[in-house]
């Protein structure tokens, strides 16, 4: 489709050129005239024509015409001879009434063919040259007086001024503004030249100058109902870079104006007018532009404001590893093309990517900045495989609708085959390793588990619970200690009880023994006495029976303050009992003797051991 259009366009262009080569028929005239003013309307044809058909000129008086003229020139360049000739028809017209009139094309026949000229728009404003010249006559004297004092004072602000014209004063950030610096000169002020041009600084804007011819062409224009000669000094496209009210500083220019000086010194002087060049400094009024910020910008907005189309092409879809590929993204249209940041592309991880290269083919014209910007991304796939570069999105802001427009390319599928140069794989590995490291640079994810919330600054340490645990455990220990001690005490008391009970038990045993004595059972008698004695000693001295022997008992008894003879007596009784039991022949005493002895010893112990 696009190709077809291109072909058609090319043919059309060729056609135009061909036409331009053969025959041109042009109508020329001023854009603005004053009422009653005479002006020229000219038709130019580069060939001889016949039968000129004039358009409807009923709004104008045709004062004269047509006057025809012919010119021809012959050029010989590098031996080639070209002959050009032109025929012109001039009419002198005068406007009848005020208003805007359009003159329809005229037609002429050349060799049987009819050619049409362009059409013209002519604005007719209230006539002033006549009036002003009349006034001038009256005020001439005054003006002259002033002129003597201040030579430049005569050039009033009405007659000569500079204006910075902007095509809009309410814009969005980044929207383009066409700023034109125009010099307005009243028709009767002769301008000689310029001096000291001080251009506005356009602070707060990114600027791009539009080429204007260095030789200023003056055209007629109506401003505030007056006709001026207007020269365009400078045209600039402005892109506001900040928001708020931005003031454009005034433009300053010094004009050199030729003025007639009439000196009344001599008679002849009146014949020859003296002219002198007067410097007149003109300053334009400052212009303020209100710049609005863009509404909430999407994340991938990269500063494009205007009307754009967006396309992307990949130079190849199959390649070998370690072979460079380029992705070209082109933004074309009108807007702040030079200020667009390269869109971000998401390459697969182990692709080695380079900084994008930006080339712009832009042109500044009266319609603003237009053309295209191309971003070239060079990258090298390091591994074989199938990869996808996701669709690249381009977000631009359309100032006329005040909306963001997202355009995107298609996703690109790439097939990478294994390349020959495997010796590079070592390097490649290190690349991918570094990549992995880079990916890992993010914070760890939030903690999802239910948390133990507590009041701010509260800690278990320092609370009553904390201290009370210490105190309570100490108390518990104290209680445990006291209770345990008491138990030990009580077990000590047990020996005391045993001590107290000892006599009773012993007496009981002795009673038993006395029973055996009466029934004359010697064996059992001695045994009972021995038992009674040992049991008594064990209880009394708090020594277990098993641990008890003669030496221990004697030592313990002596310890407790029992006299030696009592102890010996006890030992004798014990010895006697044992002799009587195991060697009755060696024993000479009687059972009664032993019985009495034991009772007596026990009685002594009972008194002395407490």
């Amino acid at each position: 489709m696009i190709r077809k259009i291109k072909i058609v366009l090319v043919f059309m262009l060729v056609g135009l050129v061909a036409m331009a080569d053969s025959t041109q028929f042009v109508m020329e005239g001023p854009e603005v005239v004053a009422m009653g003013e005479q002006f020229r309307l000219g038709f130019t044809l580069n060939e001889r024509g016949t039968d000129l058909q004039l358009p409807d000129l009923s709004n104008f008086d045709v004062l004269m015409g047509p006057s025809t003229s012919q010119s021809s020139s012959i050029q010989i360049i590098n031996g080639k001879t070209t002959q050009t000739s032109s025929f012109s028809y001039i009419f002198i017209l005068r406007a009848k009434k005020e208003g805007k009139f359009s003159i329809r094309p005229a037609s002429i026949k050349v060799g049987g063919k009819t050619y049409e000229s362009n059409s013209l728009n002519i604005q007719v404003v209230k006539g002033q040259p006549q009036q002003s010249s009349g006034q001038q006559g009256g005020s001439q004297q005054n003006a002259q007086q002033q002129q003597d004092d201040t030579p430049s004072g005569n050039i009033s602000k009405d007659n000569l001024f500079v204006r910075v014209a902007v095509d809009k004063t309410n814009v969005s950030k980044g929207e383009q503004i066409l700023s034109t610096v125009k010099l307005y000169i009243s028709q009767n002020v002769p301008l000689n030249g310029f001096d000291d041009v001080k251009l506005p600084s356009y602070e707060g804007f990114w600027t791009k100058d539009i080429d204007v011819p260095t030789q200023v062409n003056f055209t007629r224009e109506v401003y505030n109902g007056k006709i001026y000669q207007v020269g365009i000094l400078k045209k600039t496209i402005l892109f506001p870079q900040q928001t708020g009210n931005i003031r454009i500083d005034p433009f300053e220019i010094t004009c050199l104006v030729r003025q007639r000086v009439r000196q009344q010194q001599g008679f002849f002087d009146d014949f020859f007018d003296n002219y002198r060049v007067v410097k007149a400094k003109v300053v334009s009024d400052p212009v303020t532009i209100n710049v609005k910020d863009l509404p909430n910008q999407p994340a991938n907005f990269n500063g494009a404001v205007g009307n754009f189309t967006f396309s992307g092409t990949l130079d190849k879809t199959t390649a070998k590893s370690n072979e460079a590929m380029t992705l070209k993204l082109t933004v074309s249209g009108t807007g702040n093309l030079n200020l667009i940041n390269p869109p971000k592309i998401e390459l697969p991880q182990d692709f080695e990517a380079y900084e994008p290269k930006t080339t712009d083919k832009t042109m500044a014209s009266d319609n603003g900045m237009s053309g295209s910007v191309t971003f070239e991304y060079l990258f090298i796939p390091r591994y074989a495989g199938n990869f996808t570069i996701p669709a690249v999105q381009f977000v631009s802001f359309n100032p006329s609708t005040r909306q963001f427009v997202t355009k995107s390319t298609e996703a690109f599928n790439i097939k990478i085959e294994k390349g020959k140069d495997d010796q590079n794989s070592g390097v490649v590995n290190s690349y991918s390793k570094e990549d992995v490291k880079m990916i890992g640079k993010d914070i760890r994810y939030i903690k999802q588990n239910r948390t133990q919330l507590k009041p701010k600054g509260s800690t278990f340490y320092g609370t009553i619970e904390f201290y009370s645990i210490f105190i309570l455990s100490t108390l518990a220990f104290a209680v445990f200690y006291v209770v345990n001690r008491k138990k030990i005490e009580e077990s000590k008391n047990l020996t005391l009880v045993k001590n107290k009970r000892a006599n009773k038990v012993a007496l009981k045993r002795l009673k038993e023994a006395s029973g055996f004595l009466k029934s004359n059972q010697a064996e059992k008698f001695y045994e009972a006495v021995i038992k009674a004695l040992w049991g008594y000693l064990s209880d009394k001295l708090a020594i277990p029976v098993a641990d008890l022997n003669r030496e221990k008992a004697a030592a313990s008894l002596l310890d407790k303050g029992i006299e030696q003879d009592v102890v010996s007596e006890l030992m004798k009784i014990i010895d006697d009992c044992e002799f009587a039991r195991y060697a009755p022949s060696a024993f000479s005493g009687t059972m009664t003797e032993i019985y009495d002895g034991a009772a007596k010893v026990m009685g002594i112990f009972e008194k002395q051991i407490k």
Partner: protein
């Protein structure tokens, strides 16, 4: 033990805590959906209620990080670290966030014993140390019991020495708990909140400009006078700045 205590505390604050738990869930969901601003609001609402936990500070720090408010995220990670000094995730994220800080200050190395000592103190929270000291004390009492009522000298010797160690442990862990608690209460560290702060030599506007620090930096507050605080950097530099330019951790 710890759990029981927390349960008791939790019961005391049951009503609020349950409501807050729902809030955390909600804020976490916002975070998962990448609605970070809503998550931030949610976490802050919890903290406004006077309730905290290291997880809330950590998650809030994450949300701030995701919205590129690195200074606030550092502040919240530091607060989380204060409550959970041994958490690896907090430490990691704090390091990542600290890479966004402009100033890089070489920390004075310090004596290794002091560093080890601080590492030990910081390895547990106040409450953990408190619980450790309680356990040590209770075991100590048990040992005392064995010592007093032991029959044999062997047992007595063992219980005596272990009792001595245990009472030492109790004292140390108690003092660690006290130290951690004082860190929580005194807030002696602060984060610089203003993009650029000029540190003065004296607490007045007229003081000589000593050096310039940038937001996100952690400083230690060493003194206070009116609207001014004296700070000391980890490289040993000291100076005065306005209280409003720093936020206590």
């Amino acid at each position: 033990m710890k759990r029981i205590i927390y349960t008791i505390l939790a019961i005391l604050f049951t009503a609020t805590v349950f409501a807050q738990n729902d809030l955390i869930q909600k804020a976490n969901e916002h975070y998962a959906k990448e609605e970070f601003q809503k998550a931030i609001d949610g976490y802050n609402q919890i903290l406004m209620a006077g309730i905290e936990s290291p997880e809330v500070y950590f998650n809030l720090g994450n949300a701030y990080y995701k919205t590129k408010q690195y200074t606030l995220s550092i502040l919240n990670y530091e607060r989380a670290k204060l409550l959970a000094p041994d958490d690896q995730d907090v430490e990691f994220n704090l390091q990542v966030a600290n890479q966004k800080v402009v100033d890089s200050i070489q920390e004075l190395p310090g004596i290794f014993i002091v560093r080890w000592w601080n590492a030990i103190v910081n390895s547990q929270t106040t409450d953990t140390w408190a619980v450790i000291s309680i356990i040590c004390f209770v075991v100590f009492l048990t040992m005392m019991g064995f010592y007093f009522f032991a029959k044999t000298s062997e047992v007595k010797r063992i219980t005596f020495w272990s009792g001595c160690f245990l009472i030492l442990f109790t004292i140390f862990s108690w003092s660690f708990a006290a130290k951690q608690k004082s860190r929580l209460v005194n807030h002696s560290y602060a984060i610089v909140m203003q993009p650029t702060v000029t540190v003065k030599s004296s607490p007045s506007e007229k003081g000589t400009n000593l050096f310039v620090i940038h937001e996100g930096l952690k400083v230690r507050i060493t003194d206070k006078l009116g609207d001014w605080v004296e700070i000391s950097l980890s490289d040993g530099n000291k100076g005065w700045l306005l209280t409003e330019s720093v936020e206590r951790i």
